[in-house]
Amino acid sequence: MDKLCSLREAITEEIEDGMAVAMGCTLESLIPFAAGYEIIRQKKRDLTLIAPISDIQFDQLIGAGCVRRVIASWVGNVAAGLGHNFRRAAEEGVPYPLEIEEHSNFTVALGLKAAAMGVSFLPTKTVRGSDFSRAEHFRSVTCPFGGEELLAVRSIVPDVAILHVQKSDCEGNAHVWGNLGVAHEAAFAAKKVILSSEEIVTHEHILSDPNRTIIPGFLVCRVIHEPLGSHPSPAQGYARRDDDFYFDYHDLSRSRKGTLSWLEKWVFSVKDHAGYLALLGEERLKGLKPQGDLFSPRVSFNF
């Protein structure tokens, strides 16, 4: 079944106000920024965002007023520091008050893994002694064998996971490489998955390396062909990180006014991701093109 569509169509039809959306699940790379921009453009509201760390994506969506709640371990600007919109929302309720379900990287991963595994919790030894471990999504559980007391992490079930991948076929069978973060867990935890992909490849291409398939297509509802759809975050083999973009965002988002002008320029004034890339300009995009000769060796599936 061909699931190819535009980002606009995917976000219009699959994302409803109030949904819990996992995105930015590979940490600082392959963040589905283009999808995030489209969510902002369509003025989705009251979303719950889920990820360990997704660099400035959560800050952008919070600043744009799309978010009511985050389930995360870290929200900010990884290279530059604090997330100004996250701060404004958490400190002053601007543009909206923000609920925060506090996690560590590990506990977000465990919560998603629990959902992916179909169980309501997973036990862990982590974050004992941290003040945020007293929150309601952590509870004590006793090992029925040794009697050891562990912390139970409540499962985290996204309504949707949005992932940017390197290769997908039209059915959403996707090859991903590089650091995987919690991408696999999020895809299997979510009720449905939206993929944006650097390349659309043939089904046969996917089948020629089934070990590279991180997401099987039967979990996926929409596939968008969106090269550079993770800009400014990197996509191994396809795009370097656009560091300046993060620093510029950091500077401009210091004020609410600056944030609004940033959003106007990069999101609202352009129609879609093609418009965004045009705004970045060819020269800048050329500078993000990977160089080198680092290819994986082919392996044999012969028999």
Partner: protein, 251 residues
């Protein structure tokens, strides 16, 4: 010899890494410390990153986040957050580097919120720091030494050190060993093996005890044989500069 305070911190971090150890690295100074250790003291150390990457050699190219392509290419293993956290939880991570906005006298770290002029400032949160603090065999805390960052008690415990001291970690059943050192821009601390209080063990060259006391929010405990931190050797410095030629992290 000419070196910056941060270069000294990098080298001090590097000297804490033993050969063959598995290290939760992180960005910035610890990443450079890992490079120095690998090239000089600990050629068989393994660096792991919370995004699922494991490396047996630091990347040569500069980069700003652990998921940047130079840190992925040429790595040993690319997997998931759970893969590397499993190593931590099963007690196989010897050492982790962490930092924060505040550290207190028992080595507790805060990256959640602080107060400035009566106003609450929201910080980014734990990331993987609480995981490392709870479960690594030992942790090293790296901090800029400023009085506001060294309160007697942190506003919020993001990453537990020794809690309120003594047997707190054992009582709370934290599986890791807790912080072993605090490397600051002014000196190096260890922890009293009984009270678990931070103890100044060396001052960086040119830094006085009085200056450190001034920047510390509680009455300093000072090790009997207080030393001066060994300055970076030429070899150490050469490696720091090889990996940070423009001084992005160390100038």
């Amino acid at each position: 010899m000419d070196y910056t305070p941060r270069e000294l911190m990098v080298v001090a971090a590097a000297r804490e890494i033993r050969d063959g150890e598995i290290i939760f690295v992180g960005m910035r100074l610890p990443l450079l410390g890992f490079a120095v250790a690998k090239e000089i003291y600990a050629p068989r150390a393994i660096g792991i990153f919370e995004n699922g990457v494991m490396r047996d050699w630091p990347a040569r190219e500069a980069f700003l986040t652990i998921s940047d392509p130079p840190n992925v290419a040429g790595s040993l293993y690319c997997g998931s957050v759970l893969d590397v956290m499993a190593l931590l939880q099963s007690g196989r991570v010897d050492l982790g580097f962490i930092g924060g906005a505040e550290v207190d006298r028992f080595g507790n770290l805060n990256t959640h919120w602080v107060e400035e002029k009566g106003k609450r400032i929201r910080l980014p949160g734990s990331g993987g720091a609480a995981d490392i603090a709870t479960m690594a065999s030992r942790c090293i805390i790296i901090m800029n030494h400023e009085r506001r960052r060294f309160p007697p008690k942190v506003h919020f415990v993001t990453s537990a050190g020794y809690g309120n001291g003594a047997h707190w970690r054992e009582q709370e059943r934290l599986s890791g060993g807790g912080p072993s050192r605090v490397i600051t821009s002014l000196g190096i601390f260890s922890f009293d093996p009984v009270t678990r209080e931070m103890v100044l063990s060396s001052t960086h060259p040119g830094v006085s005890v009085e200056e450190i006391q001034r920047e510390t929010g509680w009455p300093l405990r000072i090790q009997e044989d207080l030393r001066e931190t060994d300055p970076p050797s030429a070899d150490e410095l050469a490696v720091v500069r090889k990996y940070d030629p423009k001084g992005v992290w160390t100038s």
